[in-house]
Symmetry: C2
Subunit: 148 residues, 2 copies
């Protein structure tokens, strides 16, 4: 089972902020770009700002901004901000303790699962939002900052 779409949409929003520069973007603008609703975007921005990745300006002319340069935001931070980071679901109901296999399978399996998760997260850790933004600019043949 895959993750939710929150991660990809959150990266989408951060990339949009990165290519736009210092101009605040409204949740409505981001929602249009990601083809979702402003409330969903605001929910994501709420998590991202709690994680220190974005900040918001209220009032007219307001919107969301990156709290840090895009070069200093990596995908692991985004992932942790918006997703449940447990990659594996254990048994819905725990195995019986009187079973030699059932009582030890989780302990025996945990190290391998942890290694897999760490390898996954390490890969996200060394990709930045700026790199994705650069790639998007290259594919879209535009230069930053992008005017909307």
């Amino acid at each position: 089972m895959p993750t939710s779409s929150r991660f990809v949409v959150a990266v989408h929003a951060l990339v949009a902020l990165a290519v736009t520069g210092d101009k605040p973007l409204r949740s409505e603008d981001l929602a249009h770009s990601a083809n979702t609703s402003p409330v969903v975007i605001r929910g994501l921005l709420s998590r991202l700002s709690a994680a220190g990745l974005t900040r918001s300006q209220l009032g007219a002319g307001g919107g969301a901004l990156l709290a840090r340069p895009a070069e200093e935001i990596n995908l692991l931070e985004v992932y942790r901000a918006v997703e449940d980071t447990r990659l594996f679901t254990l048994h819905r109901t725990p195995p019986p303790p009187d079973c030699a296999v059932g009582s030890n399978i989780v302990g025996g399996l945990q190290p391998a699962l942890t290694r897999a998760r760490e390898a996954f997260e390490a890969e996200l850790d060394h990709t930045t939002v700026a790199e994705i933004a650069d790639e998007v600019a290259r594919l879209g043949k535009f230069t930053m900052p992008l005017e909307w």
Copy 2:
């Protein structure tokens, strides 16, 4: 969002078969060990046998057996047999093509997502069911084959 519990339960079943040796185990036995229902186990065994990891003996005294030595079954095979291997969900509805970010975000992000998935799968690839079974036997202080 995590995977389903199918992966962990499938490994559980394979480990149970591994520690038991050549004796077939019924879906009911495996269900008891994993604290789930026989039908769920049979659904998993159906996928595992399709992937060439187990085989089933019908009739009285029948049950499931490993199709190969546990040393030759790695966790990646199990994972691929029972799970949806797409780790990331893209936008629920695709971004509009007239948006410079929306039309290129997927292409720009894909390489990073692929690297993360490959790192994850590579880790699963070099752990075998036999290793997990050994670890479970060590934790449970029993020797294989285990009598039930």
